[in-house]
C-alpha cells in the first residue's frame, strides 16, 4: 500500500505534462526550432525553482517523511556517455516527440500506437545492455 503514493505522484505528473503540452510532438519540434519560449520556460522554471529547493534541503538538512536524511545521489562523473548517449536520445526525442515519461503519458492520452514506441524503447534499453562494454565508458 505504501507504493500507492507514487501512483498518485505519477497521476499528477501525467496531468501536468499533458496540460502544459510538454508531451505534444509539435511543442518539441517548435522547441528545437527555437520558435517558442514555452518549452524553455517549462524546463527553465522547473530547474531554477529546483536549484533553490535543493539548496534549501541541503542547507537545512531536511528529512523525508520517514525521518531519513534526503540524499540526492550525484550523477557519475563521465563525459562521453552523457554526450554520446544524450545525443542519441536527442535524435529519438525529436523523432518521437517524446522522452520516456511522455511515452507513458501519451499512451494514457489515448494514442495507443505509442505502445510500439514504448516497446521499441524497451528493446533499445535491452540492446544497450548487450553492447555497453564495447562503448566508451568515461
Amino acid at each position: 500500500m505504501n507504493k500507492v503514493k507514487f501512483l498518485f505522484a505519477g497521476i499528477v505528473f501525467g496531468i501536468v505534462l499533458t496540460k502544459a503540452e510538454v508531451v505534444s510532438w509539435y511543442r518539441i519540434y517548435e522547441m528545437f526550432r527555437f520558435e517558442s519560449f514555452h518549452m524553455f520556460g517549462v524546463i527553465g522554471s522547473a530547474v531554477v525553482l529546483g536549484i533553490i529547493c535543493i539548496q534549501v534541503i541541503k542547507r537545512f538538512k531536511l528529512k523525508d517523511f520517514n525521518g531519513q536524511p534526503i540524499i540526492i545521489p550525484p550523477k557519475q562523473k563521465k563525459f562521453w556517455p552523457p554526450l554520446i548517449g544524450g545525443t542519441i536520445f536527442g535524435l529519438g526525442w525529436a523523432l518521437t516527440g517524446a522522452c520516456p515519461g511522455p511515452i507513458y503519458i501519451i499512451i494514457g492520452n489515448g494514442f495507443l500506437v505509442f505502445i510500439v514506441v514504448f516497446l521499441s524503447a524497451l528493446l533499445g534499453t535491452f540492446l544497450f545492455g548487450l553492447v555497453m562494454n564495447k562503448l566508451p565508458q568515461k
Partner: protein
Amino acid sequence: MEFITQPWPWYVGGPLITLVMITMFFFGKTFGISSTLKTICSIGGAGKVSDFFKFDWQSAVWNLFFVAGCIIGGFIAANYLSPDYAVTLNPKTVESLQSLGIQNPGAEYLPTSIFNWDNLLTSQGIIFMIVGGLLVGFGTRYADGCTSGHAITGLSNLQWPSLIAVIGFFIGGLVMTHLILPHIL
C-alpha cells in the same frame, strides 16, 4: 474551471514539475523515469544475457507505480480536463510543417498522420516510431538519464554530467529537426 481546461502556461507547468520532483525527495526517492525501462527489461529476464540487468529490481518497483500513474494522469487530462485538443503554435512553425506536408499542424495534440497504426509498417512509420523508440531507449540508458533525471533533477542538483547530457539532447534534437526531418516528413 476554465483555468484548468485551458492549456497551462509554462510558469504553471514548470513549477508543478519541480513540485513532483521535491515530493519524490520527501518520499525518499529520486525522480527519474528512463530507469523504468531497465527495470522492466530486468523483470522480463534480461539478466540472463547481460549483467547490466542483474540488479535488485524489487527496489525499483515503486517507480513502476509512478509510471502507471503517468498513464492514468494522461488519460484523465486528455478525457476530462481538455475539451479542446489543439496546440497553438508559432505561425512560423505551422508554416514550416505545412511546407513539409503536415496537414493542419497543431489542430490535434500530435501529428496522427505520422503516428497511427496504418502508418506503422511504412518506412516513415518505422523511422518515427520504431527507430525513434530504439534511440530513446538506448540513448537514455547510455546517458544514464533522460529529461527527468538529467535535465530536471541533475541540473537542479548542479551536476556537470547532466549539463553535458542536456547539451547532447540538443545536439541530437537539432540535427534531427533541422537536417533529417525535412527529408523524412
